[in-house]
Structure formats: structure tokens, C-alpha cells
Symmetry: C2
Subunit: 336 residues, 2 copies
């Protein structure tokens, strides 16, 4: 049967869904960073009145979706599906964050690629006439992520230079079948890429090959080159992963020297904020998109954007069992 | 815009996708149960030559998908998307199980509702012309689940009568845009239902309200009654959850007394296998469907089936933080 697929991994939407509104909430450190003024809400502390970091993260998800719906004459009842996921075990910040909403919920897990996964799938559901209105969201929290994936914060463990700083925050986007705003024209769904990297303190290096694989496939499938886009953004590779992407994609015949940046390099000031290789976490791509990039699209400073979010598919258990860190990347093309 | 939605939560497919083949692998205990003869492969022990239960679970996923593809003249390259998820932290049994396949991967998390979530979403992607061929799969393993969610097995902790036994196994289904076989005609996507239940040893009670909510909505959206179906199956409510569903759905005007069963009650012999309230885990619904129910559909002993998988959205961390157990249920209607 004929499908809307171009090439191996890319779907080309016949009626590109519209990103009708977005909302972003970040923690204080992100608010002090270079993109601070673009976020809708900057928290004063990492707890926001809650007793645990996990409860804070759920509250951030809850309020972020409220904020996103609040930009539009849209209520819970108008939303066909909510697609969300996060880094916490069993994706609990998403499920507890949305438990009071009566919205049909499809839980996702794509690690830090989740935001783009939610928008890619959401676009497929809308363009396939399964839905009219969809919310995609994701979150992360520096403290809950460090506790779960690395060391208790109280230990004050020294961080190696390759490590990244998990962004505290959430981003939510409202997709609609029609209307005005930036449109998602293509989605390229990634494959798992396993390069055998095992250093959980060097996620950028582990995820970069997945970003290269998906970007390469996007260009192959669409027949486009990087120059087609005003800007190409990856999700949270940080300085090291970004350098790898720029170098290695040249061996595949594409050049990203002039119009490529990584959200993990944008969200923190590497000189003054002590974040080593840069930002990471599901919220890195989500807040940078919902805050900064969406603003640039709406104001038409950027008209053609490729957003590629990468995820590291691993757990502390697999790391302890000497497994490598699997990478995946999904990408969407957004135009206004 | 007009969509394929009926009512609030149900999608009615215009060209119902076909479940072209299935495959199921189970552990020895499941093989000794009442459905033993229906499974494609029964393991001799819980390790299958691996050193850890997590690695075993990944191997089960890997071989289950191979088995599913092996039933058909279909190879990795022909599969547009693979949709999968599981109970392990960061869904690692899925991602490590499929890492060698070059198939675009969409990771899901719906706890024990994942199997139906994967078939529902897969059907939406096919009916929306985003794809032609999709695999949906999920897994669980008694030992990895007990270790992660409850107590180390070595402790020999006594299990309360309300507890359930996580099924060791995996199920995979191949969905295609056309061809012969049982067809998925409708999908009803559930909302999160929070009844404030906090007993992690009584998952059936925690998830039953979500099953009732989604079944009720399915009947409302489609205008059907339970009598329309030859049989209605829930995923892993066990004896206690099943009893709650049968009783409470009567208060909403529907009667399930004559044609309703729960996979958790079918897969083990409650009298002799010491599984207390019954089977649970992602693989409970997946293996019962891919083994037993699919067989009944293919042989036309059952022609109209409603499959409703329930998930408990919680983690040990949320339980320790006194949060309730959230429930969700997704359902698909399958006809031949």
C-alpha cells in the first residue's frame, strides 16, 4: 500500500500539523542562563514548595501543560491525546503530572529523545486523521536524575569534564490539525545505534552517532541538504557530542559548520555556569524548543528548522552489567 | 477537522489493519500452566543461558521478534516501525532486545498496558498511511520484576494472597495494512484513573477502575454492548481485579457475566501453581493474546474479541513517597 513515507525512515505529512502554542518552565539555573528571557516561567528554587524532587518534577509537568493550554481557547476536553514521557523510572513525572486531566494518554519512552518522539507521533496521529488536537510534553529535573542515575547529591561527587548537567524543567507543545503557526512537515524516526560506548559520564559521545545516523537518513530520504534549513538543532549532545557530529557527518558528505547548534550548548553558559560539557535531559531540548526556538519561528527569525533529539537508552542496571549505552535520535522538520 | 474518532476516546479504523502473525515465548512456569500448548516457545529455565535476568528478558524480546518475523516472508527492512516497551527501568529489555535490528523504533511506556498500546498506536499509524508494516511487542520477567519492584528473590519474602505473579515471557505481533487475518477495527485510548489505592501488593484492585473506565467508554463511543463480542479479555487484573470489574461495571449498566475473562486468570492454574490472585506483567496479556487468543481467532472459535490491557503507573519511589497507584487501560476490538 502507498504510504506517506519518503525513503526508509521519514514520513512526509500531507497536511502538516501546526504547533499552535508552547509553554516552558525551567529551574533557577536555567533561568540564569543565556536563554533565560525566553522561558515562560523560571522557578525560584528546585523544590517549588514540594517535599521531594520527584513531586516537584510532576508539578512542573502539570503546570507546564496548564500553561500550554492557557495560551489557547482549548480545555482538557478538546485534547484528543496527550503524549508524554520522561527519565524517571516508570515515567512517573509524566503520569503523576497529568493524573488529574481526563485526557486519553499515550505514554512514551525515548529517554532524551522523548520530546521529538511526542511531536513526531502526534503529527502522525493528526495527519492520519486520528486526532485534531494533541499535547506533547516531557520533563527532567537535575536532582531527581542525579539521584536515580548517578550519585546522591549529598555526596558532592566530583563531575568529570565530559559530564553534562540535566536541565530542570518541562516543555509542552499543542499540535493542531489547522490554524496559524509553525508547521511540522516531516518526521524521521531513528533506529537504535550501538557504538559500544560504556562511559555513562560521556553521554554526548554515546548519543552523537545516533544523531548522525538520523540526520544523514533525513537528508537522504528528503533529498535535502543541511543548507535547506536556516538552523539545525540537536537536543542535548553538549560540547563533546556536538563536535563529534560536526566532524563525523562530513565523512558522510554533509557539512554542518555554518548552521548547526546543540540545545545543550545553548541553554547554559559554559564559561560561568560550571556545566562542563553542557545541558542534557529530556527538558533540555523541550525547554529550548518551547522557549527559544519556537519564539524564533513565530517571529520568523528562523523559518526552516530541523530539530533532532537524541536519547541514551540505558539504565544503571545495564551499566552495572557492562552493557553499552544505546543511542537513538528522532528528528522533525518545522517550517513557517 | 473531521477525524476517525468515535465519541471521546475511540478511533474507528477506515481500513482495519491485519494482525498478520504473532509469536510468544514464555518461561517454564507459564509453559506448565493451562495455556502451555498455545505458546510458540517454552523456556526450560528462567535464565536461558544468560548471566542475569535482565539479559534473559532482552534475549526473550529479541527471539520473540525473530519468531514473529519468521512466520512471514518479512525481514527487518520491510518493517516500517517497531513499537515496544516494558516494565524495567528505562525500558531496557525492549531496547537491548532490538538493538541489532535496523528498524525505526518508537519506545512506549504503558506499564502492563503496553502491548495493547503498541497495537493501538501501530494501527493508527497504518490506517493513517504512515506505515505499511509494524511490529508491536512487550515483555516481562518474574525475576527481574520482583527484584526491581518488590524484594530480592533470595529473601524468600512471603507473598500476600492479593499479590500476582509476573509472567516471564514476551509477545510480538506483526501488523500489516492488508492481507488475511484478524483485523483491528477500533482502539479506545484510556485516561489515567486514580482511585487512591496504595497497596502495591494489590495491583488488580488498583487497575480495575481503569479497565472499567475504558470498557465503559468503548461501549459508549461505539454504541456496542458486551454482547456484541464473543469474548472480552482484560490483561492482568487477576482474580480480585476481575471480580471488581464484573461487579462495578454493572453499576454502569453493562453486564460481563457471560463472556469476560482476565488473562491473569487464564495463564496460571490458581489451584496448583501458587500464583495467588493470578498472572500479571506486560507479558501476561501479550503472551495470552499472541498464544491463545490469536489461535482462537485464526481458527474462528472466536470471531469478535475485545482486548483491554491495564497498566499500573507507579514506581517504588512513588510508593515510598505515599503516592497512590495510578491505573490506565487501553482496548482494541479485533474481528475476523
Amino acid at each position: 500500500m502507498a504510504t506517506k513515507k519518503l525513503g526508509k525512515q521519514t514520513v512526509c505529512f500531507s497536511t502538516p500539523p501546526v504547533i499552535s502554542s508552547t509553554y516552558s518552565i525551567v529551574g533557577p539555573k536555567e533561568g540564569e542562563g543565556p536563554l533565560g528571557k525566553y522561558f515562560d516561567l523560571v522557578l525560584e528554587d528546585e523544590f517549588w514548595g514540594e517535599k521531594t524532587w520527584e513531586k516537584t518534577e510532576s508539578k512542573i509537568v502539570k503546570e507546564c501543560i496548564s500553561g500550554c493550554l492557557g495560551q489557547e481557547p482549548v480545555s482538557n476536553e478538546d485534547v484528543d491525546f496527550l503524549l508524554s514521557g520522561d527519565l524517571l523510572n516508570q515515567c512517573v513525572s509524566s503520569s503523576f503530572g497529568i493524573r488529574e486531566r481526563s485526557i486519553p494518554y499515550l505514554g512514551l519512552f525515548g529517554a532524551c529523545s522523548t520530546f521529538v518522539e511526542s511531536l513526531a507521533l502526534g503529527s502522525m496521529l493528526i495527519d492520519g486523521e486520528m486526532a485534531d488536537t494533541i499535547i506533547g510534553s516531557t520533563s527532567s529535573h537535575f536532582c531527581s536524575a542525579e539521584k536515580q542515575f548517578r550519585f546522591p547529591l549529598e555526596l558532592g561527587t566530583q563531575r568529570p569534564p565530559t559530564s553534562q548537567w540535566t536541565v530542570t524543567g518541562a516543555g509542552a507543545a499543542l499540535l493542531k490539525a489547522g490554524g496559524n503557526g509553525p508547521k511540522i512537515t516531516h518526521a524521521t524516526i531513528g533506529k537504535i545505534v550501538d557504538m559500544g560506548i560504556k562511559d555513562a559520564n560521556n553521554m554526548g559521545a554515546a548519543m552523537a552517532p545516533a544523531a548522525i545516523d538520523t540526520l544523514y537518513q533525513h537528508f537522504q530520504d528528503t533529498g535535502r541538504t543541511p543548507e535547506y534549513y536556516d538552523y539545525i538543532f540537536t537536543g542535548d549532545l553538549g560540547k563533546i557530542g556536538k563536535k563529534i557530529v560536526k566532524e563525523l557527518i562530513k565523512t558522510q558528505g554533509y557539512n554542518l559548520d555554518s548552521n548547526y547548534e546543540d540545545c545543550g550548548c545553548l541553554i547554559f553558559d559554559g564559561e560561568t555556569q560550571d556545566t562542563h560539557s553542557g545541558g542534557s535531559g529530556c527538558a533540555c531540548c523541550a525547554t529550548t524548543f518551547c522557549g527559544y526556538i519556537y519564539n524564533q519561528l513565530k517571529s520568523q527569525k528562523l523559518k526552516k528548522v530541523l530539530l533532532c533529539a537524541t536519547g541514551a537508552l540505558m539504565s544503571p542496571t545495564t551499566a552495572q552489567q557492562q552493557e553499552s549505552i544505546l543511542g537513538i535520535a528522532h528528528t522533525i522538520s518545522i517550517e513557517i
